[in-house]
């Protein structure tokens, strides 16, 4: 299969501190990968580099055939093809849920208001919060907000979806409603990179699991093998802690 995301020897520093060390990673079309690892291992930074919310200093990142560099045009093109879901939802609090969803399609993809609203309705129905469309984010529960954020990203009709710990800020009883939406999305054939600690989700949908520690990819395996035969000691320790 053709790879849609390609990272070659990617290095990144925050000042003196090196967060990413020689990262090599390929993601194929329609593939679902889960990235896990202890906090501070650089997994969030890694996926934030894919749509250049963070800038890498060394190496190449190629998304959908476009190499990411300082060229703003390329960055904006990539960003309109790569959707992102954040830990803190980051909905726009001054706009209704519907307006949150239609804003970027109208202003970035130049859709008419009517078209944008049709698309928004479709995805808000998909994540089952169409009845909340006229409300403001502050009036919704965490789970509803995160589903709205997923719908907002989908409204740009991206080829790739990045999830940065989408359930970490949620109350336990709301995690499932968000994961259900993500599973549904995965079954629909979306290319997904998910940073998460939800190993149940990884077992269910991931094609591959990547384990990171101290800025390096320590282990990278198809899901079955990753959980059944982890090789690295650090991975074994992490799995034993997180699965119990």
């Amino acid at each position: 299969m053709q790879s849609i995301i390609e990272l070659k020897n990617v290095n990144k520093w925050f000042g003196e501190f090196q967060v990413l060390k020689d990262i090599n990673l390929q993601v194929s079309q329609k593939e679902k990968i889960v990235i896990c690892g202890p906090s501070g291992s650089g997994k969030s930074t890694l996926i934030r580099c894919i749509n250049r919310l963070e800038e890498h200093q060394k190496g190449d990142i190629i998304v959908d055939g476009i190499t990411l560099d300082a060229n703003t045009k390329n960055i904006e093109k990539i960003r309109s093809e790569v959707g992102m879901v954040f830990q803190q939802f980051n909905l726009f609090p001054h706009l209704t849920i519907l307006d949150n969803c239609t804003l970027a399609p109208i202003w970035v993809k130049k859709k008419t208001k009517k078209e944008a609203e049709e698309i928004a309705t479709k995805y808000l129905e998909k994540v089952q919060i169409i009845d909340q469309a006229k409300k403001f984010p502050g009036q919704l529960s965490g789970g509803q907000q995160q589903r709205a954020a997923i719908a907002r990203a989908l409204c740009m009709e991206p080829n790739i979806m990045l999830f940065d710990e989408p359930t970490s800020a949620l109350d336990p009883e709301m995690i499932k409603e968000v994961l259900d939406v993500m599973v549904d999305l995965a079954n629909g054939g979306m290319t997904m990179c998910v940073v998460t600690h939800e190993m149940g989700f990884a077992k269910e949908v991931a094609d591959r699991v990547i384990f990171m520690d101290e800025g390096k990819i320590v282990e990278e395996k198809p899901t079955q093998q990753f959980f059944n035969n982890p090789e690295n000691e650090r991975t074994k320790l992490f799995l034993s802690q997180i699965l119990n």
Binding site: S80, G83, M84, Q88, Q139
Partner: protein, 347 residues
């Protein structure tokens, strides 16, 4: 809770509260009755000259006779309808703003910010389409106060927004220019700036060109106040979480789109109290234009009180001016509160 209980609880709950209550009642007793008799009971309201005043109370005849000058300055009497017309349109549009739907609101907003300023200047100044020209040096009174305030506010706000964004820019040239500009204007008193505008500024212009003094004053006040507005707005920009920028960027919005659609609407909402504060201060600073020879409301009062036929009536003039300033400042304050409530979306 009935009145007796309320009084007992709030005014007489212990001995020192009781003492304070009596002291305050006593202060009211010695100050309010004389004030009321001066302002109303012993005052003279109607007449044609100072001789009509009784002498013990306030002589409101002074205000009544001079009202036209306090309002319009030395603007020719037969042309005053032009000012009235412009202000009737202005207040009518602002009034209508509260009662119409969003679509008409947009049209009104565009009219008020883009078309109306030119219409107003045309009406006030004339010289075109057969309208008699009225030079700015005869403009004055409350009319001039409002003219300077409204135009300075309209111009200083967008400049302030750009400066605030500039000060947070990643591009060093823009950032240092903004910092320099803001610190320069904040570091000098307004009165100095006005002197410079009147005296120094013409020196820098090529000889023969003459920029109207009023225009120079408005430019000076605009630049001065834009530095203050910039700092207020920067406070708002800093309060917006980084996640909002991330979300806007991740949806493919660039710098301008993310600022105009996402960041500024939220930041400006936060800084409404600070912006209102600055605008009220600007309004109250307009009397300073006296130093360059322009006379708005307070300037006209100062002039009238030195008229030989009306000597000794400074108090009446100042009380009147204070009341007028208060009405406008209070209205701005209430409007900003209303706006804050209207724009509140999250709980």
């Amino acid at each position: 809770m009935n009145l007796v209980n309320w009084t007992r609880k709030n005014l007489f709950s212990n001995w020192h509260d009781t003492l304070l209550t009596f002291i305050i009642l006593f202060l009211f007793y010695i100050s309010i009755p004389p004030l009321l008799s001066w302002m109303f009971f012993d005052a003279t309201f109607f007449g044609t000259s100072k001789k009509d005043c009784s002498g013990t109370g306030a002589c409101w005849v002074f205000i009544q006779v001079w009202l036209k000058r306090f309002t319009y300055g030395m603007y020719p009497n037969d042309q005053i309808w032009r000012i009235d017309l412009a202000f009737i349109i202005f207040f009518f549009v602002i009034g209508a703003y509260f009662f119409v739907n969003t679509k008409i609101k947009k049209i009104l907003f565009i009219f008020l910010t883009i078309i109306f300023p030119f219409l107003a200047i045309f009406l006030f100044h004339g010289g075109l389409f057969g309208l008699e020209e009225v030079e700015t040096r005869v403009w004055g009174g409350l009319f001039l106060t409002l003219f300077i305030s409204v135009f300075s506010i309209i111009f200083c706000f967008p400049i302030g927004v750009l400066l605030a964004m500039g000060r947070r820019s990643k591009l060093p040239v823009i950032r240092y220019f903004s910092i320099g500009f803001i610190e320069l204007w904040r570091g000098v008193p307004l009165i100095t700036v006005l002197f410079m505008a009147a005296v120094m500024f013409p020196v820098f212009l090529p000889s023969g060109t003459n920029l109207d003094k009023l225009v120079r004053v408005i430019i000076a006040i605009t630049l001065f106040e834009s530095a203050y507005i910039a700092e207020v707005i920067r406070g708002g920009l800093q309060a917006i979480p980084k996640g909002q920028y991330d979300a806007a960027n991740s949806l493919g919005m660039g710098y301008w789109k993310s600022h105009i659609l996402i960041i500024l609407p939220q930041a400006l909402k936060i800084v409404i109290p600070g912006v209102a504060n600055t605008f009220i201060a600007l309004f109250k600073d307009t009397p300073l234009i006296l130093v360059v020879g322009l006379m708005e409301l307070l300037g006209m009062v100062n002039m009238a009180k030195t008229n030989p036929a009306w000597l000794g009536l400074a108090t009446e003039g100042y009380v009147f001016a204070a009341i007028v300033y208060f009405i406008f400042c209070f209205a701005m304050s209430r409007y900003s509160l209303r706006l804050e409530k209207q724009l509140k979306t999250s709980n």
